[in-house]
Symmetry: C2
Subunit: 244 residues, 2 copies
DNA sequence: TGCCATTCAAATGCCAGACAATTAAAGTCT
DNA sequence: AGACTTTAATTGTCTGGCATTTGAATGGCA
C-alpha cells in the first residue's frame, strides 16, 4: 500500500483510495481494525490530519466506522443494505435533479425496473406485504390528504411491492429508482379524479398479487405507467401554456 | 445552517450533513462556490481542520469539488452519471461480498433487471450497440481467452444491451447490478462447452435485438439466466463435493 | 476469593498557528 | 498593447498540543 507524494492528487485522496482498494480486494476484511491514525501517518509518511481526512472520506462511504477510546480505532465496516439505501437514494435524487432528466425518462426507468419485480413478487409476496399495500391504498383514498402525503404513501406502496420479491439486491436497486422519483412526483397536483384512477390501478395490482397472477401484475403496472405519464403530461402542459 | 456542539455525532459529520442537506434541497445550486474554509470555520465556530474533514466527506460523495488558487474554493459539483457509475459499482460489489448474497439471488436480480431493458433496447438500440455486441460475441468465441477476459467481455456485452435502451437512469441502475456480478462470475471456470452455449445464447439475443423483437429478446435473456444458474450450480456442486 | 472503585493508557476528536503550493487577478515595464 | 512580475486569496499540509472517551489493569475492601 504505497502512495506517490509527487502526484497531482491530494495525499488524503490517494490514501483513501489505497485503503479502499484493500477493502474491495478483500485484503482488509470486515471488522478488521486499521492501524491507528498515528501509525498510518507513519506508514504513509504524512501527518495525522492528512490521514484523518482520508479516513473521513472512507467513513462518508460507510466503508469504515470509527470508535473512540482505548480499544478504539477505525474498523472495516460491514456495509449493510440498510446503510446503503439512503446513499443510493441521495445519489439518485441528485442525478435526476442535476442532469435535467425528463419526467418521462425517469418514469420509464422506474416502471421498467418495477415491472421486473412483478413475477417474483407475485410468487413470493407475504401476507404482510399485501397488508401494507392494502393499508396504503386505503390511506390514498382518504380525502384531505395533501399531495405530499399522497406521494409518500405511493412510495410506501411501491416499496412493499418491490420488497415482496424477497430479493434484497432488487430492493436495493429499486430504492433509488422509486424514491428518487418522489421530488418529481411532488411537482404534480392530483385532482380527486386523478387519485381515484391511481387508487383503482393500485387495487388492480394488489388484487393481481393476491391471486399470485404475474401477468396481471405486470399489465396493471404497465397501465399505471401509462396513466402516470399521461397525468404528468397534462399537468406540465397546463403549467406551461406555451405559445402558438 | 446550524450544528449542535453537544451532539454525540462528530462535528465534521454534522457540518457535512448540513451542507449536504443544503445541496439536496437546492439551497446550494450547481457550480455555486461555498464559503472558504476559513469562513466556514467562523460560521460553524469550529477550527479549519474540522471544516476540512467535513468537506472531504462531501468530496468523497462527489457532492463538491475543490480548486486551489486565488479564485479557488469548494464548488457544488454537478453529479454526472459518469461519476456516479464507479461509486455505484463499488457499493454494489461490497454489498454482495459482505452480505453473503448467494449467487442465485444476485443472478436473479441481475437478469430480472436486465430483462426490463429488453423491450426498450429492442426498440431503440443503435447499430453501434449491435456492433459492440457482435464484436464481444466474436471475442468470446476466441480460444485461449482467460476466464477473466471472458467475463469482462460478458460485462461489455450486457452493458451494450442495457445502454441500447437509451435511458441513462436505467443504465446507471443496471451498472451496479451487472458489474457487481463480475467477481462472482469470475469464480466460475468455463469449459469450452459452457462458452459455446453462452455464445449461442448471446447470439440469440443479438439476433432478436437486430430484428427489434422484444419478446424474443426477453425470452433469450430468460434462457441465458437459466443457463447461467445451472452452470453455477454445477460448478459450485463440483467444488464442494459435500458428504453422503 | 470475588467484586467494585480508581487509575491509567491508548485512541480518536478538536484546536491554534504556521508554512507551502497554486492560481488568477492586478500592477508594471517595455 | 502586450508580456512579465507581483500580489493576494485559497487550498494542501505539517507541527504540536489538549480534551474526551473508553476499555483494561490495578488495588482496596468485604
Amino acid at each position: 500500500m504505497k502512495i506517490d507524494p509527487n502526484s497531482a492528487a491530494d495525499l488524503s485522496a490517494q490514501i483513501a483510495s489505497a485503503i479502499r482498494d484493500s477493502i474491495v480486494s478483500g485484503a482488509l476484511i470486515v471488522d478488521q481494525r486499521l492501524p491507528s491514525e498515528a501509525e498510518l501517518a507513519d506508514q504513509f509518511d504524512v501527518s495525522r490530519p492528512t490521514v484523518r481526512e482520508a479516513l473521513k472520506r472512507l467513513a462518508a462511504q460507510s466503508l469504515i466506522r470509527t470508535q473512540r477510546g482505548a480499544t478504539g480505532g477505525a474498523f472495516v465496516n460491514k456495509l449493510s443494505f440498510e446503510e446503503a439505501y439512503p446513499q443510493q437514494i441521495t445519489t439518485s435524487t441528485l442525478l435526476l435533479s442535476m442532469n435535467a432528466v425528463s419526467f418521462e425518462t425517469a418514469c420509464e426507468a422506474r416502471y421498467a425496473l418495477e415491472r421486473s419485480c412483478a413475477p417474483l413478487s407475485a410468487k413470493r409476496r407475504s401476507p404482510d406485504h399485501l397488508a401494507t399495500m392494502r393499508a396504503e391504498i386505503h390511506r390514498q383514498g382518504q380525502p384531505g390528504l395533501t399531495d405530499e402525503a399522497f406521494c409518500a404513501s405511493d412510495v410506501s406502496f411501491h416499496r412493499a411491492l418491490v420488497d415482496g420479491a424477497g430479493n434484497p439486491v432488487l430492493s436495493y436497486q429499486l430504492a433509488g429508482a422509486v424514491e428518487a422519483m418522489q421530488p418529481l412526483m411532488n411537482m404534480i397536483t392530483f385532482t380527486a379524479r386523478d387519485r381515484a384512477r391511481i387508487v383503482a390501478l393500485h387495487t388492480d395490482i394488489a388484487d393481481a398479487l393476491e391471486k399470485q397472477d404475474a401477468d396481471a401484475t405486470f399489465d396493471a403496472l404497465k397501465a399505471l405507467e401509462v396513466e402516470t405519464q399521461a397525468l404528468a403530461q397534462s399537468v406540465f402542459a397546463a403549467k406551461k401554456p406555451s405559445s402558438t
